[in-house]
Symmetry: C2
Subunit: 343 residues, 2 copies
């Protein structure tokens, strides 16, 4: 593999000139440029960005840590950060934490060793040491899908509490009195926890007693949702509606309910969270809380690049999450539902 040295010799110039030619062509004379160009062709020169990074102490690479790329919401946000990085001619190294803190810890270590210029993290543990150290050492990073609204950490997210509130309120407005919740394990994601808070508050505001019997925490998966709904439906007093803390859980719940012979949405109303692409293509189309995942990724990257350029004060961007009413929610059963003829 040929180097600048080879090119320089062949072109009869110094390596400094070759370097200039690459980084700011207009500072080198036309004739020289041509010589260099020719020389590069001849020895099939390939620029070594790693060597450059070594010399400049900038890798032009950022790290992105998410729980798992197989969740479409994280995939969308990843796309957002990638597109934004691409514009800045930056690359992104991806890491999956699988909702495990030690893995997250390991990832930031490895990525920092790789000299990434900054980090975007969808963290699994807001209180952990990882973020604290990053902050202390003044390393540029942005939280994504974050729940923090103030303080020293820069972050982008949505108001999960409000999302949970809206989802529940929608169900209450339809007439439901017994509303269950299927939540991602609180130990693993505080987003789920915040959504649950919104749920509780909504119940409270409308004078519906909270019943911890109809909350089930589970893993964030289709199967998790399916099993959870079956558990709820097996209760003596099963809920007539459930709020699921993400769309996977909701689709799983639809499946589970159906397997138990229920008609949807008539026998059970379901609302999700995320609005992943397929949510509106499912039958019945899923009522859900929409999160602008792609946009959030874009903004996180944008914020990170700003932060990398100059250490401004921390900012938190909370984006709007909105309730999207579709077909998976309706009035409670036995209330003269227009769709009651189905039974």
């Amino acid at each position: 593999m040929s180097t600048m040295m080879d090119v320089a010799k062949l072109a009869g110039v110094s390596t400094a000139t070759v370097s200039r030619f690459i980084n700011s062509p207009d500072t080198v004379r036309e004739a020289t440029r041509e010589k260099i160009n020719r020389a590069m062709k001849i020895c099939n020169y390939k620029y070594n960005a790693l060597a450059r990074g070594f010399a400049t102490k900038k890798s032009n690479t950022i790290g992105l840590i998410i729980p798992t790329i197989s969740n479409p919401v994280f995939a969308d946000s990843t796309q957002g950060v990638q597109d934004c990085a691409d514009k800045r001619k930056m690359q992104v190294i991806l890491g999956n934490s699988y909702y495990r803190y030690e893995q997250e810890e390991k990832l930031v270590k490895t990525l920092r060793e790789k000299q990434v210029d900054g980090l975007i993290i969808t963290t699994t543990n807001l209180k952990g040491n990882v973020l604290k150290i990053l902050l202390e050492e003044n390393f540029p990073f942005i939280l994504l899908f974050s729940t923090v609204k103030r303080g020293p950490l820069s972050a982008v997210g949505v108001d999960n509490y409000r999302g949970g509130y809206l989802a529940t309120e929608h169900l209450i407005t339809l007439g439901h009195k017994r509303i269950g919740m299927i939540a991602g394990s609180f130990a693993i994601t505080d987003r789920s926890y915040h959504r649950w808070h919104g749920y509780r508050q909504s119940l409270k505001n409308y004078g519906i007693p909270y019943d911890k019997e109809i909350l089930v925490q589970t893993e964030y998966s289709l199967a998790g949702g399916r099993d959870a709904v079956k558990k709820l439906l097996a209760l003596k007093k099963p809920p007539t509606a459930v709020f699921c803390s993400n769309d996977y859980l909701a689709l799983g719940a639809m499946k589970g309910a159906r397997e138990m012979g229920l008609q949807l949405p008539d026998d059970l109303s379901i609302v999700g969270f995320d609005d992943m692409q397929t949510a509106s293509y499912v039958i019945p189309a899923l009522t859900t809380i929409q999160q602008p995942a792609y946009k959030m990724g874009e903004i996180a990257a944008e914020l990170l690049f700003q932060r990398m350029e100059s250490a401004a004060k921390p900012v938190q961007k909370m984006l709007e999450s909105t309730l999207i009413i579709r077909e998976s929610t309706t009035i409670p059963p036995g209330r003269g539902n227009h769709a009651a003829h189905n039974k």
Copy 2:
């Protein structure tokens, strides 16, 4: 940021020893190890993997180029390569080509400049110069979601032709005579093209004339599938079944058909391709051709690492793709369908 030099001085040893301590601790005396350890703590030493890569000419990084991470199938395969890379303590830089060849070209250039040790590519143009050059220059790379079965390129994929054949045969076996196809644009993905070939061959083998009227090429998206199915349904002689070249298209088609007032699957049978996670959770659950995406990613990474260690002869791994029959396919309408009471 402190360097090995600092640690060495503090510990009263040479940088060489520090380096040894890091890379093969057992070659340095216990007492020395402790000194170094202490020194590292004191100056909060952080290893610089980039400098290492510079010295060793190995970045311990691979590049992964896919069309788009928002397609769950590619997300799954990405997870597969990442998990495999993780085991080898390798990082992966992700790039989206968006099915655009120039983008793919640009990506391999950038990634090579970044000195990735190898590349995994889900290519958009098998015949393009990119792969040819990679091959000529003997750069390690593996094709993923590949259609190639022989030749100089190493690759992993499934038999798309066979998948298309199976899907169509299933429909024929159910009694369908008029079977349309909604395909991803052939110009963009030869996988789609191969699936179409399987479709044609199946038709032929069962003596059903091919009608190009009921093939529509579109973009790989939910909306694409929806629009396409509407086009087909508007024909004088609409199909009673459609084979969609991926699951997104199939879900889109379900939506479109439903919007036109059809009952599924009774009025229209639909089969997809991929078996993405949500496919079995949709209602009616999607009949589809399953591709082991995660597995394929894992194998591709495995193959790449082998290739990086020693330039063995090229291999092509074709994995099994199987027909998964679920609820979205049934006998043609007007044939005494058991579900006919729905109308």
